[in-house]
Symmetry: D2
Subunit: 378 residues, 4 copies
C-alpha cells in the first residue's frame, strides 16, 4: 500500500546526531534502555520515521511513550519480538521535529527476561544536531519515582507495567520546567537500607555504581547491566534522592528471612508504636553511607534528599542523617526538601501519587532546585 522505499535504514550507531538519555553501557548496536525515563532523542528533518525495537519479557512487558516537540503523543505496550514501530509519517519533510522515544517502565529486577532494545531507524531525511541543555539532574527513588500508579483508575490494584509512567511523573516534569537533561534510577518497593518488606538486599545504594546492577540473569549481565557506570561521561548538577518511604514501611512489615543463611531481618517498632532507636539508627547510617557514595562519584553536584509524597514518618531520621553526614564530611552542598503529600484529590492508581500529585511535587521541587542552583556555587 504505502511506498516505503524512500525510507533508508540506519543502525543507531551510524547516526551522527543522536542523544541517549539514561544510564547505558554506551553500546548502540543495539542500544539497551534499562531505566524508566531513559530515551533516545533525535532532531529529525524528514517526513517519516520508524524505529526497530527488540523486546522480550517473562512477565513485565516494556511500554514506550513518544514525545514530539516536547508533547507526548503516543504511549504503547511493546510486545515481544524484533519489529518496526512507526514514530511519525506524513509530516513536512523540511521541518525539524524533536523526537524522544521514552521507556515508560522501570527496570524490572523481578523479571530477568525483561528487555528493551533499539537497533535501527528507518527514515527519509537527515538528523540534525541536538542542543545541549543547561542542566543535568539525576533522580534516585522508589515506586514514586518509577511513576507507579501515576496513570490508571484509582480502583486499579494490579502490579503491572501499564500503571507506570515516566511521563506523568515529577521527574520528567521537573526536568522539563528546568530545561534539564535527566536520568532516573528507581525501583518499586526498594529503600536505602531495605525494601518495604525488610529485604536488606533490595536497596538502591548497593547498585549505584553499576549501569543497572539491580537487574538479574545472565542476559542482563551479558548486556552490560552490571558494568561500572561511567560517571565521568555524565556529571549531574543536581542529584535528587527520593527514598525512605519503603524504609519507613519496613517497620510495619513482617521480618524477611534470608533463605540461604536463615538470618531474619526486621525493622522493629517499640511498644508505644515508635521506631526502635537502634533500627532507625541503622537507616540513618545507610543514608550517610549513600550520601558519601553519591558524593564520591558526583563531586560537584548539589545533593537534595526530597521526601514526603506518601507521608513524612522518616523525615526526622533523614534530617538527622543528613546532619550527621554534614558534620562528618563538612559537605555543605546537601539539603533536605519536603515534597507535598498526596491527598485524596491527587491520588492515582494503586494508592500511589497520581498525575496531579506528580505535578504538584514537580512545581515545588522545581522552585527549590532553582533556589539551590542560584544560591550555591559548587
Amino acid at each position: 500500500m504505502q511506498n516505503e522505499d524512500r525510507l533508508k535504514v540506519q543502525a543507531l550507531s551510524d547516526i551522527a546526531h543522536l542523544k541517549v538519555h539514561g544510564r547505558t553501557t554506551g553500546h548502540l548496536s543495539p542500544l539497551t534502555l534499562f531505566w524508566t525515563g531513559s530515551s533516545v532523542e533525535l532532531n529529525a528533518q524528514g517526513s517519516e520515521l520508524w524505529i526497530e525495537v527488540e523486546v522480550n519479557y517473562e512477565q513485565y512487558e516494556p511500554w514506550i511513550s513518544v514525545v514530539i516537540n516536547a508533547v507526548p503523543v503516543s504511549r504503547q505496550m511493546l510486545k515481544a519480538g524484533r519489529y518496526w514501530v512507526c514514530i511519525f509519517r506524513g509530516m513536512d519533510k523540511a521541518a525539524i521535529k524533536n523526537v524522544r522515544i521514552v521507556k515508560d517502565v522501570q527496570a524490572m529486577s523481578a523479571d530477568s527476561g525483561c528487555l528493551m532494545q533499539i537497533h535501527a531507524v528507518k527514515f527519509d531525511g537527515e538528523f540534525t544536531p541536538i542542543e545541549e541543555k543547561p542542566y543535568r539532574i539525576e533522580f534516585i527513588g522508589d515506586s514514586i519515582t518509577s511513576g507507579e500508579g501515576a496513570i490508571g483508575a484509582k480502583a486499579e490494584t494490579d502490579w503491572i507495567p501499564m500503571w507506570f509512567s515516566a511521563i506523568d511523573n515529577y521527574t520528567a516534569m521537573t526536568a522539563e520546567a528546568l530545561n534539564a537533561e535527566y536520568r532516573v534510577l528507581s525501583q518499586s518497593g526498594w529503600g536505602v537500607l531495605s525494601s518495604w518488606d525488610n529485604n536488606p538486599f533490595a536497596n538502591l545504594p548497593a547498585y549505584y555504581e553499576q549501569v543497572c546492577g539491580l537487574l538479574t540473569g545472565e542476559n542482563n549481565k551479558a548486556l552490560g547491566a552490571h558494568e561500572k557506570n561511567d560517571f565521568d561521561s555524565w556529571q549531574p548538577d543536581v542529584v535528587v534522592v527520593n527514598l525512605g518511604t519503603n524504609d519507613g514501611g519496613a517497620f510495619h512489615s513482617s521480618e524477611w528471612v534470608d533463605t540461604v543463611t536463615g538470618k531474619a531481618y526486621k525493622q522493629r517498632l517499640k511498644e508505644d508504636g515508635t521506631y526502635d532507636e537502634e533500627d532507625v539508627k541503622a537507616f540513618e547510617e545507610a543514608v550517610v553511607r549513600f550520601l558519601i557514595k553519591i558524593r564520591k562519584y558526583n563531586p560537584n553536584a548539589r545533593l537534595i534528599w526530597a521526601y514526603g509524597m506518601l507521608g513524612l514518618p522518616m523525615m526526622p531520621a533523614i534530617y538527622r542523617a543528613v546532619n550527621a553526614y554534614n558534620m562528618l564530611t563538612g559537605d555543605k552542598q546537601v539539603s533536605v526538601f519536603q515534597l507535598p503529600n498526596t491527598i485524596d484529590e491527587t491520588l492515582g492508581a494503586r494508592q500511589h501519587p497520581g498525575r496531579l500529585a506528580h505535578e504538584k511535587a514537580a512545581r515545588e521541587l522545581t522552585g527549590y532546585i532553582k533556589e539551590v542552583l542560584r544560591s550555591s556555587k559548587p
Copy 2:
C-alpha cells in the same frame, strides 16, 4: 516466551456482551469503525486481552486509544496489515475491567483507502454484561469536533492523524460528565452549506442519513458506509451540532470551481467587510434544512446548535436560522448555545482548540445540557 495457549480466540460476532459505539453497519465479521470516537466496549473478566485489527490507508493511518476503567492508558498509530494488538496482560483474572478501544481519528473523506476493522479478540476470561447509560448524545461537527489539534505542540502545522484526538475532546468529556453514550459525525473543513473553501459538496447534512456517506471509493461502499443509517436502533436524547465555523471561513476564501460543471461557488463579502445578505441567507436556509432533517430522524431529541470555540461571526445567522426553523415548525426542542472561545492559553496544535479549550467547552456544554434535560420534556 510467554505462553498464550490459554488465550481463546473469539470472533467479535461470537461475543455475547459487546457494545459498539458510533454509527456502523451492524456487521461484526469484521466490525468497521468509521467515525472518530467510535469504539468497542467490553467488560472483561480475565487477565489478558488482545484484539485483531485490520488496517489500511493510502495517506492517513488510523490511531486508537485504549480506555480502561474510564482512564485512557494507551494511544497508538495502527500501521497497515492484519495483526493482533495487546490491550492488557498480567491482570487479576477475577476483576472485571471495563475496556474501550476507541478510534482516535475522524473518518477520512480524503483517503478512500483508510480502513480500520476489528475481527476478533484473544482472551482468557469471560465478557460480562455492560450497563446501559442513562443518556445518548450525538455530536455533529467539523475539525473542532474531530479534535484536530487537541494534541500536539502549538508549533505543529502538518495535517496528519497524529494531531487528532477523540479523547482530549469536548465530545468525550461531555459524555463522560453526563454519563452518556455518544456518537460523533465530523469532518475537518466541512460546514452546513459548504466547506471552508466554498466546496458545496463538503457539507455534513448531505450525508446525515447514511452510515458514513462522506467516505469514498468502492471499498467503503462495499463495507456499507453508504447504507442508510438505522436510526431506530439508536435514538439520542440530545443532538449537538457544532457547525458554522467553516461556513464563516468560506466568506474569506477564494471561489471553488466544480471541475465537472465549471460552476464557481463563493460566499461573498460586501465592500464593508460584512457578509453578503443573499449568501448568508443561503447559509441560514441550509441550517433550517439540516434541522428539519435531524428532527425527521430524531423525533424526541433536544437539538442544540453549539458554536463559538473559534469565534462567533456566524452566531447572528445561526440564531436567525434557528428562529426561522422554530417559526416554520413550531418545534420548541431546539436551542442555541455559545461555546467559550479558544484563547492563547487554551490553544492547541494547528491553531485549533487544545485540550484546555476542549475541557472548558465540555464544562460549559455539560452545564447547559443538564439544564436542557431538566427543563424540557420531549
Copy 3:
C-alpha cells in the same frame, strides 16, 4: 493624640488633579455619587489622607470601598451624618498613591433619602496628575451588574446594601483587565421593558438620558439627578448592556397594577409554558428602542448586549431584537455575547452570581471586548 495640624483641608472643587468616575452633575461642592462603582480618584503624594462625607438614608445606607494602587483595602458601611473618614495614614510622604474611593452600592430608587456626598479632603501633601486610560466602558444592567449577592454567605436572603459589591463585580474586573475607565448604570429587579414583577416604569431605558433619573424625591431632584446627562463629556468606546433577566422573570410573575390608572401589566406565558408571541415581541421592540437611544448618544461606541449569567431564556428574543435593530438602522457596531451561567460552585448570596461567577464572566467578556476593539473601527 495624633497631631493632625499638618493636614490641610481642601474642598474637592479646589483640587486640581481629581478624577470623578460615574455619571454626576459636575458639581463638586459637594460631589454626589449616585451609581454603584462611581468613585473619586486621586494620585496622592503625602502621608495621610481623609475625606469628608455626608451621608443619609431612610432604609438603605451607602457603603464604600477604598482601593489603593489597584488593590481593595477597606470596605465599610457609612452611617448617617457629615464626618471625616480616614483613607490612609502613616505612609511614606514622598510616594504617590493612586487612591479610589468607590461607592459600593447601587443608586437606590426605593429610598429617596439615600445620599452619599464628598465635600472635602484633609491631606498633608500634593495631588498629582492622573493618567488617562486608553478605553472607556459603560455598563447598563440589573442586580447582576449591581453586584447583588457578590459578597456574603450563600444562605443570606436579606435585600440590604451589605450584600452588594462594586468590587467583586464583573464590571470592575473587566475594566481592570482592559485598563479602562468605566461607568455603571444599574438597578436590581429592573429590565428593558419592565421589572421582574411587570412594573412597566421600572425600566432602565426610560432614564438613560438623565444623570440618575431613577432616583426619586425632591432632594435627589435638587441634587441634579434628573438633569440631562452630559454625553459629550464622556464618550464610551464600548457600551455593555446586561439586561433581560428580569424581563424574562416577568413572564413568571403576577400582573402589576398601576394604582393610578388601574391598568394591569403582565408578560404572559402560553399554555405550553412558552412566551406569548405578542408579549415577547413587546420586549424585543423595547430592546430595539433602547439600542436606538444608546446609539443616539454614543455615536462611535461598540454596543454589546451581554446576557446569560442567570440563564438564557431571553437570548433568542435578544438576538431577534438586535437583528431587527441592525436591519432597521444598518448599524454594524452592535453584537450579542453570551455570558457564562452561574452554577452551584460560583453562586453567591441571595441566589445571585458570587465573586467566582463575576470573575468568570469578566474573563470571558474581556476576551470578547478585546476582539471587538481589535476588529471594529468605529
Copy 4:
C-alpha cells in the same frame, strides 16, 4: 433620620452568650483585644447591631474585619475615640446571624498607646448560644503569622497596619478548614532567640506566659497585658509555631547593641557564608527551651513547628532542635512541617506572602494537622 430607639444598649459583660477569641484578661468592662485574629463572636437574632469601641494609638491604628456567617463583609480602620460602629442593619429580625468582629492587626509592641476595646453593643434582638467547635489551635509566629503584606499591592513598602490582615491569613484559613477555634500570638520581626536585627529581647518565648507581655507602657500594664495567662481556661489541641525566619535573618543583619549595658549581640556568619556553629546552637537551644515552656502549659497539645513560607535556611537547625527536645524529654507529640515557599505568583505587599501564599500554606498545613490529629492520641 432612622429611629434607633428600639435598639437596646448592653454592656458586653451583660451578654449571656458571647465568645471572646484570643488571649485576654477575662475583663469585659470593657474587653481589650490585644492580638491579631482575636475577636468577639455573637449569634445575633435581630435586625440591627452596633458595637461601641474605644480606640487609641500614637502611630499604629487598629483595624477590624467583620465576618458574618463565616464570610468577611467589612474591613475598616478604627480612628481614635470612643464611638459606635454599625455592624449590620435592616436584616431579618428572626434569622440568627453568626457575627465575628476581628482585630485585623497585630499587638503593637512599638506603640504603647495602641488600644482597641469594646464596651457594649446596641441591638434589637436576642443573642443565642454559640456552638463549641471540636478543635482549638494556637498559632505563634512573626510577621508571616501577623499577615503582614497579605493585603495590598506588591509595590507597597510602608510598615503600616493597613497591610496586615488576620483574614487573608493562613491562621484563619487553617482554623476555618479544620472547624477550629484559634488564637494567634505574633510579632513582626521577632524570633525565637532574637529579632531579625539581633535584638535578644524581641523574642516570643519571653512573653509566652503572659496575656500579651510584649506590649509596653503603663496603660497596657494597667489593662492586664502583663498578667499571667490563664492556660487552664483554654487548652489547645494543637500549637503551631511558625518562627525562625527572623532568627535566620539575624545572621545577615548588623549587631544590636544594648544601650543600657553596652553589650553587642550578633548571630555570626562564617567566612564561607554558613552559620557560625556556636550561634546556630544558641538558636537551637532557644527552640528547645521554648518547646519545654509550651509543653509545660499545654500538656496535651500536639506541637508542630511549621516553617518555610519565606525560605528554608533554618530548617536543619529546627530539626536538630526538635530532635534534641525529643531526646531530652521523650515527648513524641512534637513534629516539624515544611510550609510551601512564597514565589513570585503568590507574593503580597512588602515582600511578604500574599493571599495566595497564605491559601497554599493553609491547604498544606490543614492536611498535615488532620493527619496529626488522626494518628496521635495525646
